[in-house]
């Protein structure tokens, strides 16, 4: 079948103008949108720029806006994006576009880093593993699935207008440790998220939950952090 991709192109080295380019490629319905992009890049226009690494939905490099929704190009099949019409492909919103589909991820990673996304403990290191019951492990299982693709954060309308907001992904990253029984940095993280630009900025729009390619219940995680702020401190 023939699929038309309508791709948003931007190259500041040539022009500050944004243009939409259409390419028609022949694909199988079960091919991925990423395959179609590859076909364009490898066979039609080598200057098309996008990120991808594993191409199998694990690394989280190729989040983009496909037909107006944030998805991983490598997890989206051509037949699922209404291929009878031109399929629009844009970079994710809310982060500075560097070129074509590539955005500057630094503000996103900065927000994640400020959550202390590592195990915080006090006292001497134990001589063996820090054991945890299956039940305690299950408590934060959902938020361990995050691959930092930024699909959630860049689908959040609050993040679009307020670059200071930590965004859903950072809260998911914090949630993963806040509810980890082995971690002792909960108070610090809750303190950071109690900030003016923390969890209270969330309007429960649920865009993040819909966008997450890993099926993480992002909005629920944010609400759980709010609850922890109210009842745990």
């Amino acid at each position: 079948m023939d699929v038309t991709l309508k791709i948003r192109r931007y190259n500041p080295e040539v022009s500050e103008d944004v243009r939409w380019e259409e390419h028609t490629v022949s694909m199988q319905p079960t091919d991925k949108v990423l395959d179609a992009l590859h076909k364009v890049k490898w066979e039609i226009d080598g200057s098309l720029t996008f990120r991808r690494s594993c191409a199998h939905g694990v690394c989280g490099s190729d989040a983009m806006r496909i037909n107006g929704r944030n998805r991983l190009a490598c997890k989206t099949l051509v037949k699922d994006v209404n291929p009878d019409q031109p399929v629009s492909i844009e970079p994710i919103k809310g982060l500075p576009v560097l070129k074509d589909l590539v955005v500057d991820m630094e503000p996103f990673f900065d927000a994640y880093r400020s959550m202390l996304p590592f195990l915080v403990t006090t006292g001497n290191e134990p001589t063996r593993e820090r054991l945890q019951s299956q039940q305690d492990r299950d408590r934060f299982d959902d938020t361990t699935k995050c691959i930092l693709c930024a699909a959630c954060t860049t689908s959040c309308p609050v993040y679009w207008t307020d670059g200071q907001y930590f965004g859903p992904q950072a809260i998911v990253g914090a949630h993963r440790f806040i509810f980890d029984s082995r971690d002792e940095g909960t108070d610090q993280r809750l303190e950071i998220l109690n900030d003016k630009e923390g969890v209270w900025r969330c309007r429960t729009t649920f865009n993040c939950t819909e966008a997450c390619p890993r099926g993480i219940e992002v909005t629920k995680a944010i609400q759980e952090v709010k609850r922890a702020l109210i009842f745990r401190r």
Binding site: V120, T122, E191, N194, K196, W200, R201, I230
Partner: protein, 142 residues
Amino acid sequence: MATPQVLAPRTPRKARSNFEQNSWLFMRFSGVLLVVLVLGHLFINLMRGEGIHAIDFAFVAGKWTNPFWQTWDLMMLWLAELHGVNGLRTIINDYAERDTTRFWLKSLLYLSAVFVLVLGTLVIFTFDPCLDPASTLDVCQK
């Protein structure tokens, strides 16, 4: 000798502010209270007895001679105003992109809130249906 343990965090913390948390909680609690207050208000004024035809200066004045209704209306005024202002505040925070726009919109908002609250409170406690000496209302014919 054992290595001395330094407890985290080592950087001085800035003064803790729970303002956003409190305003979030306020929205929930005032919302629940307002459902009762507003529906009760509508029922008493519009449905009970003669309903809407009973409402005039005298009806309002009669209600406000009773401290119960004074308190009811005062709570409704303050909760509704603050609930609405807080909602608008978050909307301005969400959508005003420039700091100066945000500052002026919020200043305007807070000013209007103070005006409504002061005026409303004043009226609830000082309402006099017979302020006009030529009033023809029954309550003023003495």
